[in-house]
């Protein structure tokens, strides 16, 4: 039972990280109709900036707090210089241009921070275990990830559902021409939304850094999953991104924790534990395909 609980928590923690990345992606895709492949680059930039600030201030929390506004600035600058020019173009042009941005960011990071990759240590006050239930230890840093991730998800839900900016975001997601016609400063809104997406991606990057590694191209692998999540959840829907990220997180953990044992019943152990992650990867795509057949706009997407 404890084992199950911990594995479920592992899945929640992974899901929350992916949600942070997917949230920005679904906003830019849903509201600005922009396919931004370079979203993973912002995840990487956030992690590298965090590394710089953490090294500089010698404090994880302080470094993280400085890295977030810095990532916001990078996001807004990127929107104003490059991305803004892409809104009117079709999706293929956007894919091409933002793919170029990935290459640009990867080489920029190589120039600034060098090719070797960095590592961020887990802050010392979180490098032990906490008892989530009496006698059930869980790594404190991962627990903190769950807490921070949940808080950010709540904050985002509040922002979208209860504030004026959120109202504009929702309006933009359902009909963007209409809100422009109503006299909303759409340029400013888009810059802010893009910057906000960058902050969430950067937050995901810096929180993942201590349990992964800060390296060039770190966002490229996870970006594909983030796209799958926003497609499952419904493009433009924050709630959809959250639910889909949670489902994908659990599928991933099932593939690593439970499927191997199941497969070992009729396969040699080496093949079983090799096949299980592959099957869970496939399951994620099967889920996406099923959702697309059942609800072409995703679980919480706008019906058209």
């Amino acid at each position: 039972m404890d084992y199950l609980l911990i594995q479920v928590l592992n899945g929640v923690q992974l899901g929350l990280l992916m949600f942070l990345l997917a949230a920005g992606l679904t906003l830019t895709f849903g509201i600005m109709d922009l396919v931004n492949l370079a979203h993973g680059s912002l995840y990487m930039v956030g992690a590298y900036l965090a590394w710089t600030f953490i090294t500089w201030t010698d404090s994880f929390v302080l470094g993280a707090l400085l890295a977030l506004p810095a990532t916001f600035v990078v996001g807004v600058l990127l929107e104003m210089t490059v991305v803004r020019r892409l809104y009117a173009r079709d999706h293929l042009d956007q894919v091409l241009a933002t793919f170029g941005l990935i290459l640009f960011f990867n080489d920029l990071v190589r120039l600034v921070w060098g090719p070797a990759g960095k590592s961020i240590a887990v802050p010392s006050f979180l490098s032990h275990t906490v008892q989530i239930l009496p006698g059930v230890p869980y790594p404190a840093y991962r627990f903190a990830l769950i807490v921070v991730g949940s808080l950010v998800a709540l904050l985002l839900a509040w922002l979208v559902a209860r504030t004026r900016m959120g109202m504009l975001i929702r309006a933009g997601a359902s009909n963007r021409r209409m809100i422009a016609a109503l006299g909303v400063n759409i340029e400013l809104l888009f810059s802010l939304v893009f910057g906000l997406g960058a902050v969430f991606a950067g937050l995901a990057g810096l929180m993942a850094a201590p349990i992964a590694s800060v390296k060039i191209g770190m966002g490229d692998d996870i970006l594909i999953l983030a796209f799958v999540i926003i497609v499952i959840g419904g493009i433009g829907s924050i709630k959809g991104a959250f639910v889909a990220a949670m489902i994908v997180g659990q599928i991933d953990i099932v593939g690593r924790a439970f499927l191997p044992e199941l497969l070992k019943a009729f396969l040699p152990p080496a093949s079983a534990s090799a096949a299980a992650p592959a099957i869970s990867q496939v399951l994620i795509y099967v889920l996406m395909a099923a959702v697309l057949v059942w609800r072409p706009t995703g679980l919480f997407g706008q019906r058209t």
Binding site: Y3, N10, P115, G117, S127, H128, I211
Partner: protein, 392 residues
């Protein structure tokens, strides 16, 4: 006008005279390793050791300058293969050395040894396939066959009386060999066996939770470089370091220790080379390396140093004439050089027959994390695949 013409002619002649003596006149060695990304620290350690070997040779082999062309495999098999092809076809090197990763080596093997008919010296990777059915007259190793180091660890776990074990490693050629190796010799109870996605999985939460549930007497891991750093840190974060000791191969070393820090203290591992092996050449290598870079060298570096010294021994014996490949191979096969691990012989499959040691993670007198030899686990060990090799 004449003066001007004369002037340019002199410059042209001078330029000719200044040109390096031409490709045939140098001993040209290609070196493939990982120089970018999170595993770049390993490549850097190897490069430093190659440069040190070059320096110890006085920059020359048999009177000819040593020319080393480094190529970055970017930790990817396809890139490694393309870079190897470039070294053989375009740079026309006489030897290709290096290779950290078994999957990169397997992808590059035929390109170098068969299509290029060039001698390949692995300074790290030792996939079982190449020790057995894929063995090749152009392939030499100054490292080991993958299974051997974990086999030594398994032997030691038996003598130490570790009753049950949980083994974890990455799901690629070397990971499978390493876990096969420890399972071949370990006699206790195997409580679990997990393979993780390589190279993208750095989060071991699910596996560590399973280990905590299984309550083994020990964990055995193979996670090189950045992955080893993460596994050891997460093992501590999960609090498992208090209950389950960690036994490892290639996961705690001079590359990873600066980041693992005290978390790794007291852990045991197996290795064919340790920085405190008491032979003269090793003392000189470690001292010079530390003086230059202020860190300990790793076995990756030591094996790379040995690869260059092996090449030098063959080229010296042939007085620098590398044109007859049969003669070069015959000389290499003698392993007539002072290896940093002490002398070794090549087996029929051209992998070393050598000792394996057990090392403990400690702090040195200056407070720097390092490893020291505590026991000899295997004497003159041969790999388990050489009888499948067609070369006898």
């Amino acid at each position: 006008m004449t003066a001007k013409l004369f002037g340019s002619a002199t410059i042209a002649l001078a330029a000719l005279a200044l040109q390096p003596a031409g490709a045939q006149q140098s001993v040209k060695i290609g070196f493939v390793s990982t120089f970018s990304g999170p595993q770049a620290a390993i490549g850097e350690d190897m490069r430093r050791s190659v440069e040190l070997a070059k320096e110890h040779l006085g920059g020359k082999i048999a009177g000819k300058p040593i020319e080393i062309v480094y190529e970055d495999d970017q930790f990817k098999p396809d890139v490694g293969k393309a870079r190897s092809e470039k070294l053989v076809q375009q740079d026309k090197v006489s030897f290709v050395a290096g290779y950290i990763w078994s999957n990169v080596l397997l992808a590059s093997l035929k390109t170098v040894t068969d299509e290029g008919d060039t001698i390949l010296i692995s300074a790290n990777a030792g996939p079982s396939q190449i020790a057995g059915e894929l063995c090749n007259k152009n392939y030499f190793s100054t490292s080991w066959q993958n299974d051997q180091t974990p086999m030594a660890m398994g032997d030691y776990l038996n003598t130490k009386g570790v009753k049950s074990l949980y083994v974890v490693g990455p799901n690629y050629a070397a990971g499978k060999d390493m876990l096969a190796g420890v399972k071949r010799t370990y006699k206790g109870k195997l409580l679990g066996e997990d393979y993780t996605k390589w190279p993208d999985q750095l989060d071991f939460s699910a596996e560590l939770t399973k280990i905590a549930q299984a309550k083994p007497d020990g964990i055995f891991i193979f996670y090189p470089g950045a992955h080893g750093v993460q596994f050891v840190k997460q093992w501590v974060q999960a609090g498992l370091n208090k209950t389950v000791p960690l036994y490892q191969v290639f996961s705690i070393d001079a590359i990873t220790l600066p980041q693992q820090g005290e978390a790794a203290l007291g852990t045991l591992g197996a290795q064919e080379w340790v920085n405190d092996l008491p032979n003269e050449q090793n003392k000189r290598y470690v001292a010079d390396f530390k003086k230059k870079h202020n860190v300990y060298p790793s076995y990756y570096g030591a094996q790379s140093y040995d690869a260059i010294m092996l090449i030098a021994s063959a080229a010296e014996a042939l007085k620098g004439d590398l044109s007859n490949k049969d003669k070069v191979r015959a000389e290499l096969k003698k392993a007539n050089f002072k290896s940093l691990r002490g002398d070794f012989k090549f087996n029929t499959n051209q992998f070393p027959i050598q000792n394996f040691y057990i090392q403990e993670t400690v702090k040195d007198a200056a407070g720097m994390m390092t490893v020291k030899t505590i026991a000899t686990a295997v004497k003159d060990g041969k790999d388990a695949y050489y009888d499948k090799c067609s070369m006898k």
